[in-house]
């Protein structure tokens, strides 16, 4: 079996990719995609640690997977609301470029 550390390292790679995506892409939709990538990276780490955690006994071994389930649900809700906001913004500005949404500055 593959050790937990490799899974976590993979998760870190995925998370870093997502972060880079958030920083480099200007389209709000691409930002959302990158954020999904980061969420999944976190999920991967949780699942990997859940397996490591199974030594703690049956009582709590599945806590990690349950948490991932809840994260999935939250991600779904986030996407729904986020995309709703995106559509609303697009209606007003005909653009999803986040750099054009920079009025809130000093």
């Amino acid at each position: 079996m593959v050790q937990t550390e490799y899974y976590v390292a993979l998760s870190a790679v995925l998370f870093a990719l997502g972060g880079i995506g958030v920083l480099t892409r200007r389209s709000a939709i691409m930002l959302f995609l990158s954020i999904e990538l980061m969420l999944n990276a976190a999920n991967l780490a949780i699942v990997a640690y859940a397996r490591q955690w199974s030594a703690a006994g049956a009582q709590h071994a599945l806590d990690g997977q349950a948490a991932v389930f809840i994260v999935l649900a939250i991600a779904a809700a986030e996407v729904a609301v986020g995309l709703g906001i995106l559509v609303a913004i697009f209606r007003n500005r005909v653009s999803t470029d986040v750099d054009e949404l920079s009025e809130v500055r000093a």
């Binding site: 079996m1 390292a9 880079i20 389209s27 939709i29 995609l33 990158s34």
Partner: protein, 192 residues
């Protein structure tokens, strides 16, 4: 190990695709690939139920929603260059952070529990096992997430909903009532 390496390569390739592909549709499809690879990885981690959910909810529902929005908005190329310095900076800091985190992760290595122990504790991570955990220990979280989803749905509808034509006309009249503010009438007419 071989399976892990293959899946990891697939996952990272898809991830890079998400971040780098120019067309949003391509990027979204790349994300679908990443999610599917992740689902397979979940299987290797004894999380069968999550793997299934991953495919159904993410690759199915969420990504479809993404594709809908992408097509609905028909996003074009961005016009002006801004924050051009951010791209290399992001890559550098991202890679550096990654290196640091990986160093931390491998600084202390712990042995995996015995296969039997894992199997007995996780029970393959099937629906039975996860469901039992969700409906006992995490019942409150489960319910709250349900409420959250409901709120999310209502919010999304409220955000996206178009104002009905009669209502819009009524509002315009209401704004036009004060005679001394004609410019408000004009702007109200053009708005939305």
């Amino acid at each position: 190990m071989v399976a892990f390496i293959i899946l990891a390569v697939l996952l990272v390739t898809a991830g890079v695709g998400v971040v780098t592909l120019r067309q949003p549709v391509h990027a979204a499809l790349s994300l679908v690939g990443a999610i599917l690879a992740l689902a397979a990885i979940y299987v290797t981690l004894e999380a069968h139920f999550l793997a299934a959910i991953q495919v159904i909810v993410y690759a199915g529902a969420v990504m479809v929603l993404f594709l809908f929005v992408i097509m609905l908005l028909n996003v074009g190329r961005t016009r002006t260059a801004s924050l051009t310095w951010l791209k290399p900076a992001a890559w550098i800091t991202g890679v550096l952070s990654l290196a640091a985190v990986v160093a931390v992760v491998f600084a202390v290595q712990r042995p995996l529990p015995e296969f039997e122990v894992i199997n007995a504790a996780l029970r393959g991570g099937n629906a039975d096992a996860v469901g039992e955990s969700l409906f006992t220990d995490h019942l409150l979280s489960f319910h709250l997430v349900g409420v959250l989803l409901l709120v999310g749905i209502v919010g999304a509808v409220a955000l996206v909903q178009q104002v009905a034509p009669e209502t819009r006309a009524k509002r315009a009249v209401a704004v036009a009532e004060p005679e001394d503010a004609p410019e408000l009438v004009a702007s109200a007419g053009e708005a939305s």
